[in-house]
Symmetry: D2
């Protein structure tokens, strides 16, 4: 027997705008898409665009890429592109997102969804007006443990919710010798600083659960004010490094405290995502420090915390055995499967990517946080 080309429905043709780290991950996920066993939609990385031609070269080894552009407007004029994934500096998001949807393409947007609240609203409204399918990138809800926590919280079994904590912690910025980059500069990162960077990671699951803050008190910190500029000199860092938002949400008529932490300077932490919901009857807790482990609280005759080892129990089934550990690339692939499945109307009961309304809601929280910090007050949304 010899090979026949794989049949099936035509693939969704995806373009990557911004040929950096995350664009390459997209190529990698698509390259092994057949590893997904029950995803009814198939993507193809058809085009890539970057201002810097050298950045395009890496993509030349990806067999499906047929367009290499340095101007994304040229790319958006191509007829054989269905979806654009945009990973640019934050200050370029709004313009690019608007051009993508006005060019008739669907959009998978990197976070933040525009540099600030006003930008986010403009993109959302334009997408709604044009009827484009738009979602925002956020990987962690696609972890097996996140999926389990989401279901348990929604089941109502937790009783009265006592408190909620969502956190995302990094630490590489603690190295004072790390050179500055655009993420440490308000002009490019946005006034929300670390909230623009990491905020979607902490707020996505709460918002999906309907927990939009009613009040926000922010503790925002600038820790190092200068950094090496990478050229022998020193540059100013003017963005917020760490943000802790002490909020309240209303759940079943009760005001519940919810803490959202986004930190670039959490000593020793590397990509640590934490989600915890405590109720009077049950609770859930997870951290990517122990990525296999799901913790649940039970108030029985004794109060106990129970751990269970989860394996590769992803929303979309894959070839990888259930016992194996998922890594970041696996979770990213799950997120893309959710994006594409929802776009095609076949998501089923699975968790979907962040919506424009959710992205706008995030920005409302960050805007309130900035106002809280400025005025030293508790801001009501």
């Amino acid at each position: 027997m010899s090979a026949a080309p794989s049949a099936g429905p035509a693939p969704v043709r995806v373009a990557v705008i911004g040929a950096g780290l995350m664009g390459r991950e997209v190529a990698s996920a698509f390259g092994r898409w057949f590893a997904l066993l029950d995803c009814p939609v198939r993507p193809e990385l058809a085009a890539v665009c970057d201002l810097n031609p050298a950045a395009l070269d890496w993509f030349r080894q990806v067999p499906t890429v047929r367009h290499f552009e340095t101007d994304y407007r040229a790319l958006l004029r191509l007829p054989d592109i269905d979806v654009a994934y945009v990973a640019l500096p934050h200050d370029l998001h709004e313009a690019a997102y608007l051009e993508v949807i006005r060019a008739g393409k669907d959009l998978f947007a990197e976070k933040p969804f525009g540099i600030d609240l006003a930008a986010a609203k403009r993109v959302r409204d334009e997408a709604a007006r044009l009827g484009r399918f738009v979602r925002v990138s956020s990987e962690f809800p696609f972890l097996p443990a996140a999926h389990r926590m989401f279901k348990l919280v929604k089941s109502g079994e937790l009783g009265r919710i006592i408190e909620i904590r969502a956190a995302f912690h990094h630490s590489s910025d603690l190295d004072p010798k790390k050179a500055i980059n655009w993420k440490r500069q308000v002009a490019h990162c946005g006034a929300a600083g670390v909230m623009n960077d990491l905020g979607m990671h902490v707020a996505h699951l709460p918002l999906r659960l309907g927990w939009k803050p009613r009040t926000v008190h922010a503790s925002l910190q600038k820790i190092y004010r200068t950094r090496p500029d990478g050229r022998g000199g020193t540059a100013e860092c003017d963005t917020w490094d760490n943000a802790s938002l002490h909020t309240t949400v209303e759940i079943a008529g009760e005001e519940v405290p919810m803490t959202l932490e986004m930190k670039r300077m959490a000593p020793g932490e590397t990509n640590t995502w934490i989600f915890e919901v405590l109720g009077t009857d049950r609770g859930v807790r997870h951290s990517t420090k122990e990525p296999k482990t799901l913790w649940t609280f039970n108030r029985g005759a004794e109060q106990t915390w129970t751990k269970v080892d989860l394996g590769f129990d992803t929303p979309f089934k894959t070839i990888t055995g259930a016992i194996f550990e998922p890594g970041f690339p696996d979770v990213l692939m799950q997120m893309w499967a959710a994006f594409l499945a929802e776009r095609s109307g076949v998501l089923g009961g699975r968790f979907g990517c962040a919506t424009p309304d959710e992205a706008v809601a995030h920005h409302e929280v960050w805007a309130a946080a900035l106002e809280s910090q400025r005025s030293r007050s508790v801001v009501t949304l």
Copy 2:
């Protein structure tokens, strides 16, 4: 050879007012006082007082107790008492404390130091006027790990302080069938509720380090509104069950976030005391979950967290081998040694018990927290 009575300076004669749990611990600590190897002061439990005569009976087996009273005024008239330790419901603190010091006795006060800020100030000022030695009970700074953290933080090696967290967590109140008692009623516990109960545990070390909050934003919660009244009916719980205070302190000219958590409803937690200070260069972390273990952060070529097993490395040396685990009774004995040593002017460089000024400062923070909760605002002290 036959025994000779032990010589040495005359003991400090202590009276216990309120013959409950903590009064018995005092008797127990004094009963094995010789276990301390380098404490130059020796106490003797000479008297005990309780409204309920039956509560006195347990103390009849303590050889040194020679006075059994049901009226503490009678006890305070006894000439052979030097110090009174008072463990009464919060609403009786002020009156009793004032009577103790006006009777010419020194005072070891249970927390809170008066039911509210005004009471605390009145007691402090009267003690100052009369020149009485007054301290407030707070056991956890006498843990070996607390001692080590205190020293490391004071050394300045942490670099710029990024954040501080002090917490004390209980969970027995999560049982909805637990009957009400005076600690769950504002009239007896005070408007500050759980902060009156547990607040000294979290604020003592920060205040000693000079970290008095500049701003306070409180999240106070009442979780269960009613409880069994213990007589087949139901009673109202009107105190705060959980309190999280998001404060800022000024350290070396920088505003640093400090979180103080006092929770009666922390799922699964039993007497868990947590203290954590993170700096740009080093950090410290400890929890009584792992009572032997001290964690320290180091920012070197890599960022690391290091743990070391501490044993019985207490401020006052004891007969107990350094390798053994200290328990709560051991820490309480250390606290009493510090009280008595400081009273006699021989504390040396050791950590001393909470002072009236510190106790007043605590109450200032709780008062600000109540105002923050009432007005939904960030309160400046």
Copy 3:
């Protein structure tokens, strides 16, 4: 009211032979004996003996001690002594134990029960012949978690036992500059070395559960061969430092592997006692690293490990609140309560101290281990 001397039955009069660390702990436990709420027997430290008169001085501050001796034979002739607690170097155990029981006293023996198997048998047999009450010191079964594990294992709920591990780990000997002492010399410590020192800690609970090894394969190690002699020179260390015994026990007709570890050189460990029993249906696990925490395994729809915070839930109730952490002195006091209660026939269903038969069984295991190491074989008992 003025004090009346405490009434009740006459106390058990205890003598300490060997006025070191553990003898002082006995004095300390007795000094606060009234902290026990439901122990129907009361001890009194009446006499102390040490070859070194200076070692006796510390005991002069213990009010009840009325005899101070340097020759234990003189002490054993005193009529007002009921029980002797003997804490001498191992090579003196047999002679002292025999003299104690022949003098008509009951015996609380320090481990090991004689320097080797032959000695243990001679003491056991003589005690049986004379009808003396004799038990051996072993503190860890009196931990709240140990008590709970013992009960759960005995309940049969674990299903088929898969494996058992008991371990005791120290690390201070890893310091090559620590001077030699008698415990590092075969002449005084015994040929079994670390097994004589620490073995009772690991084997007591298994033996009480009926798990006497059928086969033994030992891995014994001498890590440092010399140490400073404390006088500027170097001395030979000829005892075993670390011992891992790979044994099998028969449980319900099945051969089950049981590992017994006794290590003086376990990097970073300080007095860490570990006990773990795994079954097909349930399991238990505890370590003194987390002294409050009991772990249990459950095989349900998922396989889970559950933790619960235990507090001061000791076999004998004490004044100390259930929420507080027990330390080593508290556990030692529980052990003494069990010794005295069993001696008086009022132990009830509580866990009793190690018996002479159990002590002999321990030595049979260590003897087999020595033979296994010598012959590089699996030894059948």
Copy 4:
């Protein structure tokens, strides 16, 4: 610009024999091979073979697969195949491996390397005679933490090695309702049972470090004797479920205990790989429970254990950011990169896959373990 096909050296053409779980992982790894940034060799999945034609269908969606066979002899006659990866039941390994190498192909063999020692030797010797490049699959040494431990151990900084532990733990077999399969039957799995399954995971790193056991004492267990046969009846399980091998290795003239654990019934464990080496000066410890975390011991003024968060610090660099978590598929891809790079002579200083000599050495250890279990003895190799 439009796409040009990727240039570079011709790919290595790989055939998968046995179209199961692991064959699909190979396809997935090759599908995103471009994610590797510094691997100078490129594979192509050219052919797949399975007795069951339906199993081939999944591979039809892999663009590069051009041969679909049900007889591996036919596949081996194809000229455009360079390497065969064989993943068949253990009893078919020897024949298939021999046919692969006699057909002039290089071999990436699944573990075990033949069903027993004799088979392993025959394959090794034939490969040597024919000059074929042959390696054996073993993923865990390619974890970032494994890499770091290997380097630290080789550095000599650990001082005298005290002990070594390598373990691999599963638990799905604890479910008594799990139906039998060929891995639970001696005829197909081999007499070594779980050692044939999981043994390479625990022994690979020790053998590479030169730690071949001198003596072996095995504790082998059959826990459940029967299982559902998947057709409503019951079938016998006759393989060893759990194996603990207590071995000694000689390191620097000292005999050092090394424990190798392979367990299908470790309560609650899912694919947990553990490696620990303790020395008098330093030590290393890692478990896939905390896949990011590397623990190291240091004996300084105090004895400490230090943890550091590792990210995607793989031997071959990839597009994935260093901060992200690697999963099993990522580690498998690293292993393939090492196989292909070593085959092409460009491995450099990186860790290579298990060699035939190492595979034979593994089998020597399992053979000794079987003899030890049979004779209840310590077997010398």
